[in-house]
Homo-oligomer: 278 residues x 2
């Protein structure tokens, strides 16, 4: 009958000639006729049915190798099993994409906070809601042991998250706390590193609560200035007659290695719960 050249067949099916040649080479779809002198390929329009099937399986996310296997084996059980497998893969992909969406929103909101914060390097008073965290107990003075040591601790936390299959994005807003009494005595010994909890991580790690209430906070941009700003909290509280009623919290709102590749550079918010002296 009227056979089609590779170009015509490609046009009819909305694919490229290269793709048809690839399918031929892979054994997915051979042209029904091959001119033995010129090596030209000639297709029957009815072979489009096979191309339809291939394209369809491709939209299901099946690899060409698997498609070939399916076309070769001709077993409905194999197809059914493959469809089920693909279905659960898709569910996982959708789940992952939703997690990623959360991570992106989180990063965007950190950047937004950074740009819209009115005052940096100054004590501000905020009412904060109760928040959930997952914490890793430690007992280190980062201000004397140094930034390098902090990184080492972070590496351990990160490994733990990965081993628990928690997306690394949760690692992007890490915080530390200092026990109330230690902070009051200016003994700046961090007692835990934490990440924020949400409904997804709550099922994987046990969560603790940072209570809500009145907080004194300072927003600033460099870890090295943490000591300086902690003193501001002390001075402010003393000045207005507040006392500390909760652990000191140091929270990384946004990371900026973009501005300094050599070491961690965060936009930081330190905070401590206070009450009026009675």
């Amino acid at each position: 009958m009227n056979n089609l050249t590779i170009g015509q067949m490609a046009k009819c099916n909305g694919i490229s000639t290269q793709t048809l040649r690839l399918y031929d080479k892979m054994g997915l779809l051979k042209p029904c006729i091959r001119n033995s002198e010129t090596d030209y390929r000639y297709y029957d329009l009815r072979q489009s049915a096979c191309l339809d099937m291939i394209q369809y399986m491709k939209t299901l996310g099946i690899s060409l190798k698997e498609i070939k296997r399916i076309l070769d084996e001709q077993d409905i059980d194999v197809i059914t099993a493959m469809l089920q497998k693909r279905l659960s893969e898709i569910d996982r992909q959708i789940h992952d994409l939703n997690v990623t969406k959360g991570a992106i929103r989180n990063m965007a909101s950190g950047l937004h906070t950074y740009r819209s914060i009115p005052v940096q390097n100054t004590v501000v008073w905020e009412t904060l809601p109760a928040r959930l965290i997952h914490s890793y107990p430690i007992c280190e003075d980062f201000s004397t042991k140094g930034n390098n040591y902090f990184e080492a601790v972070l590496r351990e936390v990160r490994s733990d998250l990965i081993s628990r299959k928690i997306p690394v994005s949760y690692f992007c807003n890490v915080g530390t706390t200092i026990h109330l009494d230690d902070f009051a005595r200016r003994n700046y010994m961090s007692n835990r590193v934490f990440i924020w909890a949400d409904k997804y991580t709550a099922g994987i790690l046990p969560a603790e609560t940072i209570p809500g209430g009145s907080y004194l906070c300072v927003y600033f941009e460099n870890y090295r200035r943490e000591t300086e700003h902690r003193e501001k909290l002390h001075a402010f509280a003393a000045g207005v007659g507040y006392r500390f009623v909760g652990d000191f919290v140091c929270e990384s709102i946004s990371e900026f290695p973009i501005f300094q590749k050599a070491e961690r550079n965060s936009f930081i918010k330190i905070q401590i719960a206070v009450e009026k002296n009675t």
Copy 2:
């Protein structure tokens, strides 16, 4: 201070040495020290911060090239714009995955029907619900013009679907109808090709209804036997005193180019609405 070899740095960050070398070559992260004699790379643990950022952006689905651009440009606006773009990409991906899920379920149910259908090549009586379709008017007698001609029509439908950004999966269960009067007169002229409508396609193409009711149906496996089975419908209806009250519908339930690469090979259900003669 204490610098790390590429292997130690890789281990700390849970990535391979090859990946670190790649990042170096791409300019994403250069080791802080390079021995000019041995070319050995030495990293500072604090450079992990940059790796964290890279890994984080990777989980957002950003390409290494883009990540490099972001690290180089150091512009928060660029980052924010990128995050927004990525967010809408993800929404589209989730949408597409849901469409794919529907397509897989559809294929699986076709295969299931094929395997669980009790009787093939025999007239059965079914009560069918009303169904929505999108149709392409034609005026062709495939039984004389041939299978090849049918393919040509299908190619046009397919192109139209693609141009309207309807997933090709909808093309996988295509059907044809013959007008009631033509069928009754044994004038087997197809008046339309259709695909099934759903909530997704309904917003893109105008939908028509195939009415519900009592149908005489035949399930069979080869297009070539359609004429033969149409006669069975005529004979059965005449035998039990039914008359045709709706268009003849030929529906492809499942495609099997797997069993015959040279041409279309479907599991087919033909059906026509009937009522008892009064």
